[in-house]
């Protein structure tokens, strides 16, 4: 009886979480004339017409490529710069350690709207408008606080002896970082990578401001500004949403443990 209640509660919670997404998926399979009719809830003859329509003209492909490239470059850069900094903070002697960590954490509280206008002016002055580079630099910086916070807590958990032993064996500081500490902190590294990737894949405000054509436009901007001649093309928006959400859902289902470790490692333990 009590088990039954538990499963019922779990069912309610899961439906609440995924129902809007399922509805979007159903919408994407409906023909246009079905969209202006409710009931029925289910599509009468599921059709891929909207998916075919958005891939016409290759523009959407280009936009997906932009998003994938920007998110991947950001992830690599943020991990490189962030792990160096975290290693320094966790294992090396540095003055003002607490101050640096506090500084990094306080930056994560900066509202994006406060930095968007000066950054826009700088990017315009450097003719970096509508380029990947502008987005990658901005995203890397804004994902640093989270990366540093998570990685530092992971590096701290590694025993100091391992690092010291490698130094005694003749490794330089950098060698022992790359060969000994990094492989041992791989789970933390991975957790951080997923979070940074999701952040860059989803970011909207900077992307909306810095991009202007399909040369650098990313998925969220494209979906927000979906062109419609006469009315909002709900079917195509739904199809596009399903396509950009699918990889994230897969990421979450496969790596939920890592994601949860990353989210909580930075906040609750720290």
């Amino acid at each position: 009886m009590r088990k039954g209640m538990l499963y019922l509660a779990a069912l309610v919670v899961v439906s609440y979480s995924v129902a809007p997404l399922v509805w979007q998926f159903l919408t994407s399979l409906k023909m246009d004339y079905e969209l202006t009719r409710i009931p029925p809830l289910l599509p009468e003859a599921p059709s891929l017409a909207h998916y075919i329509a958005i891939f016409k003209g290759r523009m959407f492909l280009r936009i997906i490529a932009n998003s994938a490239l920007v998110a991947s470059c950001t992830t690599i850069l943020a991990l490189a710069v962030g792990s160096l900094c975290s290693f320094g903070l966790a294992k090396l002697e540095i003055r003002y350690k607490a101050l640096i960590l506090g500084f990094v954490l306080s930056i994560s509280m900066f509202p994006p709207i406060a930095t968007v206008s000066p950054l826009y002016l700088v990017i315009r002055a450097m003719s970096l408008r509508d380029t990947w580079l502008a987005l990658v630099i901005t995203y890397t910086t804004f994902s640093l606080p989270l990366s540093i916070w998570i990685l530092t807590s992971f590096f701290r958990e590694l025993p100091d002896e391992i690092y010291r032993a490698s130094r005694v064996d003749g490794c330089t500081v950098f060698q022992s970082f790359v060969r000994i500490v990094l492989p041992l902190a791989a789970p933390g590294f991975f957790a951080t990578a997923i979070l940074v990737f999701i952040f860059s894949w989803n970011e909207f405000l900077y992307a909306l401001t810095f991009t202007s054509t399909e040369a650098s436009r990313t998925i969220p901007v494209a979906i927000a500004l979906f062109p419609g001649l006469y009315e909002i093309p709900w079917g195509e928006i739904a199809a596009a949403s399903v396509i950009v959400t699918a990889p994230l859902v897969v990421l979450v289902l496969v790596f939920q443990r890592r994601i949860i470790e990353g989210l909580t490692g930075g906040a609750v333990k720290g």
Binding site: V14, C85, L92, P111, F142, L205, T245, V249, V252
Partner: protein, 284 residues
């Protein structure tokens, strides 16, 4: 002495990047806010605190501020309460728990823009599924009362998983002995929750409140895409208003003053929580 130097090299790239892309712009935005700057006409003149004086008389600013406070307060409270319920559920042992946890995380991972578009379609007054399910005919996003609440409901849906995951981690840190000891003393589930779970979870609840309040106060995507601030600015939050002034009417000076205000408010909220935490820690 040598090692101090090596450590500095490791930290330097991150610090430099953060300084160039966050600290410098923050100083610059304050500087910009002291100017009348209109990009299209190439006008830029120093006007001191003129923008801030204007801001104090700007009704649209006060409206946006009160919208933002209302949005933040209501959504954060709902997220923590629902998040706690979710966390308590996920903390129980049952088959398929891993799958439930993963599915609950899905809304958190979806781009905010996508979830805004999704809900815009659900809320649609003519063909939306919400009206169908409730048997109503409400134009949710066109109604001054409902539009802001519609945005809040969407935000709660999207960010409750984050609160739940942090709270779940907090629940798992509570030693099981405490529960068995309290049970031996004859405490039922309600008293267990009231006298064991809640007090021990307090620090984590506070962390969730900080994270969520700071995030909700700067809300942009959710509102901008769902309602664009409408109808008649009833859902316009500070970030949305600042964005429109900056990049739609291109008043960089006044827009920067609004942006600085958001920054100051967020700073005040953060300071408030830190003081609150400090006092709690001091009392113990």
């Amino acid at each position: 002495m040598r090692r101090v130097e090596t450590g500095t090299w490791f930290v330097m790239p991150a610090i430099l990047l953060l300084a160039a892309v966050t600290i410098f712009p923050i100083m610059d935005v304050v500087y910009l806010s002291l100017h009348r700057k209109l990009l299209i006409f190439g006008i830029s003149e120093f006007t001191g605190l003129q923008n801030y004086r204007f801001l104090l008389q700007d009704e649209r600013f006060w409206r946006a501020l009160s919208n933002t406070i209302y949005f933040t307060g209501l959504s954060v409270v709902l997220e923590v309460v629902l998040g706690l319920a979710l966390a308590l559920l996920m903390n129980r042992a049952f088959r398929g728990k891993g799958l439930v946890r993963a599915l609950v995380l899905v809304p958190w991972a979806i781009p905010t823009v996508v979830s805004a578009k999704m809900w815009e379609w659900i809320y649609n007054g003519d063909f939306g599924v919400l009206n169908y399910l409730l048997g109503t005919k409400v134009n949710w996003l066109g109604d001054p009362f409902w539009a802001l609440h519609a945005a809040i409901i969407m935000d709660v849906w999207k960010t409750t998983p984050f609160a739940a995951i942090l709270l779940l981690a907090g629940l798992q840190l509570i030693p099981a002995d405490l529960y068995s000891a309290a049970r031996v003393d004859g405490a039922g589930p309600v008293r267990l929750f009231r006298y064991v779970t809640l007090p021990l979870l307090k620090p984590v609840i506070l962390i969730v409140l900080i994270f969520r309040s700071l995030d909700a106060f700067r809300v942009f995507d959710a509102v901008y895409v769902l309602t664009g601030g409408g109808p008649a600015n009833t859902t316009e939050t500070l970030s949305v208003y600042a964005y429109k002034v900056l990049f739609q009417t291109l008043q960089i000076g006044y827009g920067s003053a609004l942006a600085v205000t958001v920054f100051v408010c967020v700073g005040l909220i953060a300071t408030g929580y830190i003081l609150l935490m400090g006092r709690k820690a001091g009392l113990r």
